[in-house]
Amino acid sequence: MEVNILVGGAAGQGMDTVMNLLGKSLVREGYGLIYTKDYMSRVRGGHNFSTLRIAGGTPWTTVHSVDILVALNEETYKLHQHKLAPSGRVIYDPEVFTLPEEEDRGVPVELKNLAEEAGGKVMANTVAVGVLLVLLGMGSNTVEVLLEETFKDKEGMVSKNVNALKSGMSAAEKFCSACFPLPPKSEDSQKLFVDGNQVLGMAALGSGCRFLSAYPMTPSTGVMNYLAGKSKEYPVVVEQAEDEIAAINMTLGASYSGVRSLTCTSGGGFSLMVEGLSLAGMIETPLVIILAMRPGPATGLPTRTEQGDLEFAIHGGHGEFPRAVLTATSHEDAFYRLNKAFELADRYQTPVIFLSDQNFADTHRSVEPFDFGRLSYNRHLVEEDDYEKPYQRYRLTENGISPRAIPGQFPGETVLVDSDEHDQNGNIIESAEERNQMSGKRMRKLKALAEEMDEPDLYGDPRPETLLIGWGSTYGVLRETIDALSASGLKIAMLHFSDIWPLPQKRLRTLLPEVRLSCCVENNATGQLASLIRRETGLAVDKRINKNDGRPFMPDEIIKEVEKYHES
C-alpha cells in the first residue's frame, strides 16, 4: 500500500511549500516517505514538479506512477496525466484551466479564490494541502501545529493559513474522502524530515567544521545555506568567496591555521579548484570538498543530476598525491561518512572529496535522528612532548604521516608549508634525492589510507547469480530494484560503493568471478565505475546500464534492462 503525489507548476508557484507542509506533517504522524524535486534553471515560469511517495517502512525512491496529481497549471496536467493511475485524482483550479471532457478524475477546487477569501492568494498552496488531507483521510491537527510554528512571528498569518487549510478541506469533501488510504505508520521514534544538503551541513557542524568558504553553485549551495543559517548560534564562519579558486585557497589557509574547514561546489567550480586540490596534496593540509555533481560538460544541465565526475574527482589536479573519494549513498550513511571524510583528511593530512549529486542533495526523506555521539573529532595534531625539536613540518616517517602542528602551537616553533617541492623543514629544494624522499613520504600514506576504505555494501541474495553494481545516490533505487527482482524469483544482489577511492576490492574479487551476470548501473554516459573496476582489478563487468539525461533512475527502468539481458 502506497500513495504517490506529484505537485507541478511554473517556477515560483510554490510546489515546495505544499510538499514541505504535507511532508513534514506526514512524518510527524509517523509515515515513512521520500520527496524529490525536478526543477529548471530559472526563477519564474517553466515547469517544475515535486514528487512525494508515502509507503510502508520508508521508501527508498520515488516512482513513475502518480495517484494524486496537483496541477497548478495546465501544462502540469498535460505533461504528467499519462502517469496517473486509473483510480487517480487531479487536483486543479477550474479558474486556471479546465480538464478535457473525457477526464473523470478531476477534483476542481478554486484554490486562488478560496485563498483570497481566507486572506490572500499567496495561501493557495495551503488550500491545496487542505484538499490533499481530505483525499488522504487525514485530520488537520498536525498541519495546524506546523502552521502555528511556521508563522508565529507573522501577525495574523496563522489564522489566515488555518482558514485556507479548512476551506480546502471543505471543498474537497464532496469529491473523494479518504479514497487514498495511507500505509501503516511506523512504530519507531519520531523521524527527521530532512534533505541531503541539510544532512551534510549537520554532519559538518557535528564534525567540528568551523569554516566554509564557497561560491554558490547548484546543487551544492544548500550546504552553504545550511551552515550560514547556523553561524549566529554556532562557532562557524561561512564566507562567500569571489570565485572557487579563492574558496579552496581560503579553506586551506584556515585548515593550515588549525580549524576543520570545508568547501563545496559542483563540477564547474571544482574545475577551478583543482590547482588548489593539488596544493592540498603537496602541502599535506587537511581539506574536505563536497562535490555535488550535475550534468556537464560546461554549464550542462545546472539543476539536474549526474554521476559524471567520478573520474574527475579521482584524477583532478596536476601531479600525484594521495586522496580519498567518498560518496553520499543514503541520508543515514552520508551523515556519518562526511564525518569520516573529516577524520581521514586530518589523519592523513590530505584532501578528501565527498561526492554528492543533485539527486541526493535535493531529496527529502524520513530518517532516524542521528547519533552525534558516533561522530569523532580527533585533530591528529602533534603533542608537546611528542616531536623532535626543532619542529619540522615534513619530518620523514615510516608511514609517511609527519607530526602536524599548527602556527602558534608551540613557543619558538614555526610551521612552513610550500607548494614547491620542499625539504623536511618546508623549504624549497630541487635535489633529486630530497624529491624522492618527499614524494615517497607522501605516497606512502596511500597504503594505510586504502585500508580505511569500507568494502561496498552487499544487499540481496548472499549467493547471487546476477549482481548490480552502483555507487553514490543510486543506492535507494537499486535497493528497490533488488527487492522487486528478488520477489520475482531472481537470485540477485547489489554491491554498492560508499568509499570509492582508493577502490576497495575484496568483495569485487570474490563476487565478480562467481556471478553469471554483472551490471554496473550509473547515472553517466560511459560507466566510469565499471572502467575503474577494470583498471584496478582487471575484472570486467558484463553490462553497463547508463542514464545521463539529467534525471535519476527509476526502478522500472533498471528492471527492464536487467530483464532484457536475462532474456538474451
Partner: protein, 281 residues
C-alpha cells in the same frame, strides 16, 4: 630583539636585487615590533618575491601563483592572534591574483600586504607585468607594452582601502617604518614597494627610481582626494609615503562569532551540537 633574529637561510635572488632591502626591512620591522616568530604568518604566492617565507623566521604559507590573499584571510578567520603579512610580487598580486586583490580590499581583513613591484616578471624571465610602463620591449611584448599600467594605489583607494602607501627599496629606513605602521594598522594595509629588477628590467633601474622618488608632505592622511592625487603621480616625480590612513571596521570585527578565543583554540564535542537536528523533527 634584533633584525638578525628573523633572518634565515640562503636566498635564491640575484645579487643587487631589491628584494634584499625589502627582506632586511621586514626583519627589522618584526624585530622592532617585538613579535614572536610563532605568532607571525607570512603568506605568498609564486615569484621571486614570493620566496620570502623561506628567508624570514616565521610561520609561512608559500602557496600558489596569485593566491596569497585567500589563505591569508583563511588564517585570520581561524586564528585572529596571528599577525598575517603577505610578501609577494606585482604579477602575483595584481595580475594572477587580481580578483582576490579587489575583493579583499572590500573585506578589509587585518592583513599587511607588501607588494614587491619591480614592474616586470622576474621568475619567468622578463615578460611585462600589469605595472610595466608602456613601451617597454620584452621577449613577448616585442613591439613594446601597449596597455597602460595598472595603478594599484589608485585602485585600492577607489575600493576603499584604509591604508595605502608607496615605498622604494632604496629608501630602507622609510620602508621599515612604513612596514611597522602597516603591520600595526587595523585592517587591510597596502604597501606598494618599488624595487629594481637587475636582471630583467633595464628601464626602471635603481638609478631611475632614485632620481624620481621624493617625500611629499602629507598633511592630512584622511584626505582621500589628496591621496588620490599622490597615487596618480608617475613619471619624473614619484611620491613616496603613507598617502591614506583611515581605519574602518575590519572583516574580523564584523563577525560576532570571532569575538573571544580564536576559532582554532576552542574545544569541541560533537554531542554538544546534537540539538541542531531538532528543527527537522
Amino acid at each position: 630583539m634584533k633584525a638578525d633574529h628573523f633572518l634565515l637561510g640562503e636566498t635564491a635572488w640575484c645579487p643587487g636585487c631589491g628584494n634584499f632591502s625589502i627582506r632586511n626591512a621586514l626583519a627589522g620591522a618584526l624585530a622592532e615590533l617585538n613579535l614572536p616568530a610563532e605568532e607571525v604568518l607570512i603568506c605568498s604566492g609564486i615569484g621571486q618575491a614570493a620566496k620570502m617565507p623561506h628567508y624570514i623566521k616565521a610561520n609561512g604559507f608559500n602557496g600558489l601563483h596569485g593566491r596569497a590573499l585567500p589563505p591569508a584571510l583563511g588564517a585570520r578567520i581561524a586564528n585572529k592572534n596571528l599577525k598575517v603579512i603577505i610578501s609577494s610580487g606585482d604579477g602575483d598580486s595584481y595580475g594572477e591574483g587580481g580578483n582576490h586583490f579587489i575583493h579583499n580590499i572590500r573585506r578589509n581583513p587585518n592583513i599587511a600586504h607588501f607588494i614587491h613591484n619591480n614592474q616586470v616578471y622576474g621568475l619567468t624571465k622578463g615578460q611585462a607585468s600589469p605595472t610595466s610602463d608602456p613601451g617597454m620591449v620584452t621577449g613577448v611584448q616585442v613591439s613594446g607594452v601597449i596597455n597602460p599600467a595598472l595603478n594599484p594605489l589608485a585602485l585600492a583607494l577607489v575600493l576603499g582601502a584604509g591604508f595605502v602607501a608607496r615605498c622604494f627599496s632604496g629608501e630602507k629606513e622609510h620602508l621599515k617604518e612604513t612596514m611597522k605602521k602597516a603591520i600595526n594598522f587595523e585592517g587591510y594595509a597596502l604597501v606598494d614597494i618599488l624595487q629594481p629588477c637587475v636582471s630583467f628590467n633595464k628601464h626602471n633601474t635603481h638609478g631611475w627610481y632614485k632620481n624620481r622618488v621624493y617625500f611629499p608632505e602629507v598633511s592630512d592622511p584622511a584626505d582621500w582626494s589628496a591621496a588620490m592625487n599622490l597615487a596618480r603621480q608617475w613619471g619624473d616625480q614619484i611620491p613616496l609615503g603613507v598617502f591614506y590612513n583611515v581605519p574602518r571596521p575590519t572583516f574580523e570585527d564584523s563577525l560576532e562569532v570571532l569575538s573571544g578565543e580564536p576559532l582554532a583554540k576552542r574545544p569541541f564535542e560533537p554531542n554538544d551540537v546534537a540539538d541542531v537536528q531538532n528543527e527537522f523533527l
